[in-house]
Symmetry: C2
């Protein structure tokens, strides 16, 4: 496994693979790798001749007051995980390389970034879309892999990569969960034992709402009621959103009825426990509804 | 010379060139080719193993009320010019291909798009940056060629391509002029003989201001005064701007003194004659000032 620290070298190596006719997979990360990332790397490894990963805690996707400074950095362990997963190339990026002096270009995605995290994290998806555009330009992979825990991010990146003709297939990989259902996240490292117990309500709420939808519940107000009831917001858990949207467009169901659609129904939660913000979601595919 | 009409085929052909280790040059155009474009094509031909050009009247860079509908379309003649210039591949693009259904991704460049045409054509540079990002993604050229008549556009694209790591060198090619100095432009086709005579004042104004700078004039107000005086705005010519800016940053000289800088001094004019809007500029390099 080769480790490079400049975009120029990452680009050079990736170009050679393409020129040699090899299929290439890319897993962009912010480091602090966990089993969710390992799954992305393994899926990429299974589908592509060459796999690269990037590690870059992207400053432009953090708003002022968010956890950029304290975001976990575990480079040595990350490299071990990459090596074990059979990664060929790790690009550890520097902000001054990704964002050259005088940087002033932004990639924005419109409708898909308005609801959910777009509302509470202004500028977040602009930062995500911009850095992923830059990384895809540098690495030019045939496929790039993202985790479905960040469902809205996957939709935004899919749209961006298609709209700007990157020619990269965006592959969405299922969420990895703890035994009690908590979605793996680098931010879980912030949780003390008490908080760790509280956050299991997120998955419980999603499961209960999903079960209700499968049993035939279509009223958005009822489904959102179940999400909120099971989350039990209070002094130990602040509910940021608990929404029921079209999984295809992230739009609300205008008449309050969660309808079948080719992409199903998205149940999405963001909650704060102590200083930690966590998100999770489930998509109920249409075939489960009859 | 091969003509393709889908981004998929353009991308495939360009990929093959790269895989074969050939250097590739790309000349994006809106068609209605003139000698200015021919020069771009010739320069590309001289520098690259393979040359592609695109023809696409990009709707998103026209504001409502601008000349999108009447913009000259001369496909057959354009293809002849490309063939004569030794172009290998012409990509004639469709809006529904470049902007797929549900398109919602924009590339914006900030500071460089605020002055000059950015002020009078809201959304113009967003459209330019977005379509050029898409075309560079499709064609992935080693070099792309743009005319210096659109100086601000060159700066915006240079910035965008660097900021997003396209790995394409942006090459700026000198303006081609009529014997009386009028910069070649597809929009010159709109001019009737009377208007044609009037617009020669644009080049005269730029030349007079440039000469004053070379003689040592540094006061921005004086230089702008010369531009305006020689343009003689009135019922036959409306002056949109006649500005003196840093050629590097397109910023005003805050103390009103046009200073030496590594990129020189930009003299830029936009004017309307009849229904036709024309722009032109000159850059006075620093060495001419002493």
């Amino acid at each position: 496994m080769r480790v490079v620290r400049t975009s120029a070298e990452a680009s050079l190596r990736a170009d050679r693979w393409r020129a040699a006719g090899l299929s290439t997979g890319f897993v962009p990360t912010m480091g602090a790798l966990h089993e969710g990332h390992s799954k992305l790397l393994r899926v990429a490894r299974g589908e592509c001749d060459r796999v690269s990963a990037s590690i870059f805690v992207n400053p432009t996707q953090f708003a002022a007051g968010e956890d950029l400074a304290k975001y976990p950095r575990t480079e040595e362990k990350d490299l071990e995980i990459c090596a074990r997963a059979g990664v060929d190339l790790v690009f550890i990026a520097e902000a001054s390389d990704i964002y050259p002096a005088g940087f002033q270009t932004w990639v924005t995605v419109e409708a898909l970034t308005r609801p959910l995290c777009g509302r509470s994290r202004p500028g977040h998806f602009r930062g995500v879309a911009t850095v992923v555009a830059a990384l895809l330009s540098i690495v030019r992979p045939h496929r790039a892999y993202f985790g479905l825990k960040d469902y809205q991010q996957v939709k935004v990146i899919e749209r961006m990569a298609g709209d700007l003709h990157f020619g990269t297939e965006i592959r969405a990989v299922g969420t990895v969960r703890e035994p009690d259902g908590l979605a793996l996240s680098s931010r879980n490292a912030y949780l003390d034992p008490a908080a760790r117990k509280v956050v299991s309500r997120i998955h419980r709420a999603l499961s209960a709402a999903r079960d209700a939808v499968i049993r035939g519940e279509t009223r958005v107000s009822e489904i959102e009621g179940i999400l909120a009831r099971e989350l039990r917001p209070g002094s130990d858990l602040e509910m940021e959103y608990a929404d029921v949207l079209s999984a295809a467009t992230l739009e609300e169901f205008s008449d309050g009825i969660a309808r079948r659609s080719p992409d199903g129904i998205l149940l999405a939660i963001a909650a704060r426990v102590g200083g930690t913000r966590l998100i999770d979601n489930m998509v109920v595919p249409p075939e489960f509804r009859e």
